[in-house]
Symmetry: C2
Subunit: 318 residues, 2 copies
């Protein structure tokens, strides 16, 4: 048990589990690897939605009701933008803007995204190690019936309305996984796939060169938490995407998606009927409460994830 | 009197006179040419302080006490920036940020600075034609006892504290004056040099290729308004710069600066003692109130400037 718990993480749901894990593990035992496929440039500013959500969540600055951005936010920038007939499809709060601006300034000054992320977390008093999956640009493109759309155009501008046919992760084939991520895999205590969107939060990480192989051969149990609960995504378009891809929006289908990669699935008690089907895929299934309304829920799920990881023989092939 | 009144303009003082002129001339009789030597990029955003001030002034959005930015501004971006240990030396209001962001977005989409400026003024309901002196980048560099400083670093970051030795306008020799500016000079009714800083607001415009010659040979009277009143600059570092350059901070010295270019100087009644010295430089001097506290002051000065221009034989060599 020398290594770290490595978490593959998207935005809201992932950040909640990460917060729980950060309350039960010391910082040096954790490494949070965040999807950057959603990142984009807007107004010349570099915006990293998943890193932002993880950052605000760990710094206790996140708006808990809205699910993104900062608590106590104001919107004078957006008001003024509308007055100017500006591109107002992506909401940016006045306080939130500072994170994007300072990140952009540091990137332009030559810092890597990892360095910027570490510096900003440090300024906010967060000691949990958080790294972008890569310092190289990977851009998620959603293939839809309206054509190929950059992720934020699909997600925010078009409100997930276009029908999804597939996904592309531009740049992934050449992007280098973050060095700490690669290093941590070799002796990880556990690898956790957070309850994030499998297609657009986790798959971009798995699309990095040799990443599936690196995770499969890592001497650590791989535990995935289903983001689908009772046939629905708690947040975001995962269930809608599954339906459009002809996949049932179920915990089994999530398990099928991670088949050959994950040793165990953590599913919600509402999906306890999927237990046997998941077992038939060769994965363990743990049925617990995965709906994280309170901090106690986050901590309890973190403990459940670590518990099931602890029961798996790390050296057994997935 | 077929042509336009062409105003060479910097920030605050210039914008006030422009507002006055806009109240006594129809839009098609005016062309406001704004210094872009102060422009810079901050956080990846393109900031054009003089264009911003003129824009906010004409749109009646300017903060009248602070002298820059928008009235009713909020500062949550700056608060958050400080929390992140960010680069907080340049104040950006939450509402003001939208102008920089939308400008940057349009520039990145391929619009010229002129096109962006025209579009934003139109959105704000301003019909006065305002153009940047050039769509090409000109950057004012202040040579000081601390070395060569980009203008905003000298002006804001170092609060004009370094001792000035000279100025450089990087890019000016290759910058093309705005086409409407060049065209308007050929049949201008008058050319007005606003009460802006001669060194860092007006000289960058005059540093454009052949600009001094174009103004000198234009068949229009050239009237300059002194930004120095009673030995002081009403706003900004003009008087401090003059002292450091070994030039007395007087209306005569401003006249001397524009000698060979301006046909007439408009000076404040406080400087009426300079009248004869200015006449000896071969320029007419008009002594009026140049301190623009109220809108009526702005309009009165605009009328005074147009009146003296009307008394000058446009064809006489300067």
């Amino acid at each position: 048990m020398a290594g770290r718990v490595v978490v593959l993480c998207g935005g809201v749901g992932g950040a909640k589990l990460v917060l729980g894990l950060s309350k039960v593990l010391p910082p040096e035992k954790l490494l949070v690897v965040v999807n950057t496929g959603d990142d984009f440039e807007h107004f010349g500013l570099r915006i990293c939605p998943d890193l932002d959500t993880v950052t605000y969540t760990l710094a206790d600055l996140a708006d808990k009701e809205r699910g993104w951005g900062r608590a106590g936010e104001t919107w004078h920038f957006m008001e003024s933008l509308r007055q100017l007939g500006g591109a107002d499809w992506f909401n940016l709060g006045d306080r939130d803007l500072a994170l994007h601006a300072e990140r952009t300034r540091r990137l332009k000054a030559g810092e890597s995204l990892s360095e910027v992320t570490a510096a900003l977390l440090d300024k906010l008093g967060v000691s949990v190690p958080v790294v972008p999956m890569s310092d190289d640009a990977v851009r998620t493109i959603v293939e839809t019936d309206e054509g190929a759309l950059p992720f934020q155009h699909y997600f925010v501008r078009r409100r997930c309305e276009p029908k999804v046919a597939g996904f592309r992760f531009d740049g992934a084939a050449k992007a280098r996984p973050h060095a700490a991520f690669k290093a941590a895999l070799t002796d990880a205590e556990a690898i956790v796939i957070a309850p994030s969107n499998p297609y657009v939060s986790v798959d971009p990480i798995l699309a990095l060169p040799n990443m599936r192989q690196a995770i499969r051969t890592a001497p650590a149990p791989v535990v995935a938490v289903s983001p689908i609960v009772g046939g629905k995504a708690l947040k975001g378009p995962a269930a809608k995407m599954m339906a459009e891809l002809g996949v049932p929006a179920t915990a089994e289908a999530v398990a099928e998606h991670y088949r050959g990669l994950a040793d165990a699935m953590v599913i919600d008690w509402q999906d306890r009927g999927a237990h046997d089907a998941i077992a038939q895929l060769g994965m363990r299934a743990l049925t617990v409460n995965t709906v994280m309304n309170s901090l106690d829920d986050r901590i309890a799920l973190a403990r459940d994830v670590l518990d099931i990881a602890g029961t798996i023989d790390a050296r057994a092939p997935a």
